[in-house]
Every structure is written in structure tokens, then in C-alpha cells.
Symmetry: C2
Subunit: 244 residues, 2 copies
DNA sequence: AACATTGTTCCATCTAACGGAACATGATCG
DNA sequence: CGATCATGTTCCGTTAGATGGAACAATGTT
């Protein structure tokens, strides 16, 4: 974007935006092409994201994703709740040649739209679910078949079955199943999901996949709970200041 | 980290840090666990990094990486210069079963340390090279054999050959070659490199790999130059404000 | 060549960030 | 089990420094 474009979006004076972007450029979070006078997001963000991975679920869940992808040969996703959206934070592709890459790492979806996202939504506190179904319909524009009533039914089905199923509501040739990763008192911290082409999602295979997902999810939930308890040495994290 | 830890590192008052972290938490760049009172980097950073990819070399270079990984079966890296460091911004693994994953996406190395990093360094403006060799030796602590004189020789060799070679200086069982992605006036914008186990890096194979790398790098350089010229419509980028 | 648009710099005003201090909470040790 | 210490949280007066108007420079456009 150009300076003027940024200025228009953020509602601040030209001079101010100029100074702020200058500061961000200095620390590498923004890049500036002097020729074209265009600002871009900078490479420093890669380092930040890499650091974020290290201390989040992502690192702990990686082995699960790898195992699932190897065993199922399909694409496995890890999502977390982020505000009223589901955020894909990791992905692992199996070796089946037809790959279903609906989500990239970093992509967001309204809560409820998609198997992983639905698994997350269904296992949130009831108050949250009600509010989201009521208020968030605007965000679901453009995803047909995700009105409040339809979603409520899907949430109920998910709670009943223990897993979320999406049979081609987003991309018709595809289907996906998702399960929540729950902490000790049943709140969903994350969701594991597997996507594949419709042909590989018959009833028998679904229950097979769900079984594998649930086993990994349970194990993961336990190990996350444990880490939550380890307060003592967590504080001792010495920080190397020149890391950035 | 705990609040007190952060306070110690950033040299600001407790109250101030508390407020700042609160603000960052609200926008999702920091996560706070109320139970353990620990702050972490937040998931919002994933979205930022994903957005950064979209407007940087990464997206344009992805096809090259995929082609190289498929053709060579080894691991292909894309790095850029970021301050006085080389930053790995993308990686693609081939199907050879012994994988050499020295670098993760987001990792940094001092300029000159590693094949990609050396390729970047060698094709920087001469003034920069001199300054870096002179001033940056502290950063190269812990990488043996990368003193200023040794590096200068390696830079010369790289310029002479047109590619950088690293024969196990970092991990002894591994070797890697790297080439610069140059813009129209010869400055390195990025580096493509391939790493493999020593056995797969004989003289014949090296020149084969270098050939492939150079072809991709040249093509990539041309396409990046083109994009640099397209100033006109770049400004027209309408921005969807609610993207975040 | 005149004009329009955008980027950059300067500076006086006034916002809002800072941190001291007081309080709350939970951990640690005698 | 109670006293003490360390840490997290809230409040608020002072003042550092962010803001944006305005003037200027450097482009691109008609």
C-alpha cells in the first residue's frame, strides 16, 4: 500500500502514519520499497510467528498431525479459537495424490463454518455459542447454509456425536470431519480435522477417522493440561534479549 | 513469560507493561493464561505472517521451490536478508527419505553462515560486506570457521563461482549449495539453496543442482523486477478493513 | 509547461503514556 | 498455620512525546 492508502484506512494524519510506518520499518515488521513508494508487511513477522509456534499448542500437536497424516494419507488441520473465528494454525498433508487444501496456515473462518471450526464452536461455553449464533451471522455471509438455525442443528449434532462433519457445504467435492481437543473441564482448546475428497469419506471411513482423531485429541488434551500445571519452572524462562 | 520477566527485559514499569500487554492481548498478538499468569505470543501473529507471505517474494517463489524439491528430492530453502541476518522464509522438502532440516521457516543466521546465507552476503553492496565482516563477528560466535578472513575467502569464492557452497561447516554430515536471486542491477534480493547429506553432494551432482538453482533464480529475478515496475495499479489495492 | 497528487519535514499543542504508590492475591518459609 | 515476601492489578497526577496542521519537495498527469 502507499502512504496515502494507509492513511485513509487508519484515520490518522499523513505525518503520523509516516512516522509510525518508519518505526515499524526500522524493526522489520514493515518493508518499504523506495522505488515504488509501497509499504508491505515485513519479514520480521515470520520470526514472530515462528516464535509464537514454539510456545503454543502448535509445537505440542505437531507429532499428532504427522501421525494422522501418515496413517490417513489425507490432509490434517489444527485450528484454534481466536475471538469469534477459527484460525488454522497448522496443517499436514498426507501422501494421497489428490490434496484438499481448503485452508492455509493463518487463514480464518467464522466459528461453525467447516469441520474443525464447527468442532470448536460446539464445545464452547453455551453463552458464547448463543451470542455467536445470534450476532455473527454477518460474518457468515457468503457461506450458504450457515444461517443461525442450520448452525444450531449442526452444533447439536456435533455435541451428540462427539465429532463435527462437513459433507461438502463449502467445496462440494470435499468432506471433512473434526474433533475438539478438550481441557480438563470440557472446553475446546483446539480442533483436529481431516479433509478429503468425498469418495474417501464413506460411513465406514468416517468412523475410522473419527476414532483416530479422538485418540490423538484426548492424548493432546491431557498433555496440555499437564503443561498448564507446570507453573513453577515456567517463570524461570531466561530470555535472550538479542533474540530480535 | 510472567509480567515481572517482561518488565525486567523491556525496562519499563510494571504498570506500563501490564497495560501494554493488555492491549496486545486484546488484539490477539499476545495470549494470557489467567491460571498460570503467563504471557505468550498470540495466534494473531499467524495471520500477520500469512498476510506478509502474500505480498512478499515467498508467494512468487513457491512454484520454484516446489519444482526444485520435486526434481532434486532434497530440501530447498528460500532466504532473504533482514538487517545483518539471513532469514529463512520458506522451505520445501523433496521425497528423499533422509531429510535435512537445518532451518525452520522464521529462523535466522548471521549473514555468511550457511549456503543460502553466504549467497546473500556475497552479492550485497561491497560497503555492506566490509562492514558486516568487520562488525558482525560477535554474532558468528558459536559457528566455528566463520572468522572474518575465512568468510572473506568464502565470499570471493562465491563471487567467482556464482554459487555458494557449504561442505559440512555447520552440520558435518551435510552439505548445501546456494545461489542468489538478483534484481536487474545485480543486488541479491533472496537466495535459493538446497541441502542434502554429503553422499548426495559429489562434484557432478553439485554442478547439476547449481544449474537448476540458477535457472530458477534467474527466472524469479526477472519476474520480481517486473512486479517492481508495475507501480500504477499497485496503489489501487483496495483494503478490506475488517480483515483483522 | 501548469497542475495535481503524494511523500517528507517541522513544530506548537495537548493527549495519553508512564510509573510511583497503594492494594490484592497467592506463594514460601519458619 | 500464620507471617512475610513476591507478584499481579488498579488508580491517578505529571510530563514526555505523539499528533496533525502547514509548508515544502518530489513525483506523476493533463
Amino acid at each position: 500500500m502507499r502512504l496515502a492508502d494507509v492513511t485513509a484506512v487508519v484515520d490518522l494524519g499523513k505525518a503520523t502514519v509516516h512516522r509510525l510506518l518508519g518505526a515499524l520499518t526500522e524493526v522489520g515488521f514493515v518493508e518499504f520499497d523506495d522505488g515504488s513508494k509501497l509499504y508491505r508487511l515485513g519479514y520480521g513477522l515470520f520470526s514472530l510467528a515462528a516464535a509464537a509456534q514454539q510456545f503454543s499448542i502448535v509445537e505440542q500437536a505437531r507429532p499428532s498431525l504427522v501421525r494422522l497424516a501418515a496413517a490417513t494419507e489425507d490432509t490434517v488441520y489444527l485450528s484454534v479459537r481466536e475471538g469469534d473465528q477459527a484460525l488454522c494454525v497448522d496443517r499436514c498433508t498426507g501422501k494421497f495424490p489428490i490434496r484438499t487444501l481448503t485452508l492455509d496456515v493463518g487463514d480464518r473462518r467464522p466459528l461453525g463454518v467447516g469441520a474443525g471450526s464447527l468442532a470448536l464452536l460446539a464445545f464452547q461455553p453455551e453463552g458464547d455459542i448463543d451470542r455467536i449464533l445470534r450476532d455473527d451471522h454477518a460474518a457468515r455471509q457468503g457461506f450458504s447454509g450457515f444461517d443461525a438455525d442450520g448452525l444450531r442443528a449442526m452444533v447439536r449434532a456435533t455435541l451428540r456425536d462427539g465429532y463435527a462433519f462437513n459433507g461438502g457445504r463449502i467445496v462440494s467435492a470435499m468432506a471433512a470431519v473434526g474433533v475438539p481437543v478438550k481441557d480438563h473441564d470440557g472446553r475446546a482448546l483446539a480442533a483436529l480435522s481431516i479433509a478429503a475428497i468425498r469418495e474417501r469419506m464413506g460411513p465406514a471411513r468416517i468412523s475410522e477417522l473419527v476414532g483416530m482423531l479422538q485418540q490423538e485429541a484426548e492424548e493432546l488434551g491431557r498433555s496440555l493440561d499437564q503443561r498448564g500445571q507446570t507453573r513453577t519452572e515456567a517463570g524461570q524462562n531466561k530470555v535472550t534479549e538479542e533474540q530480535f
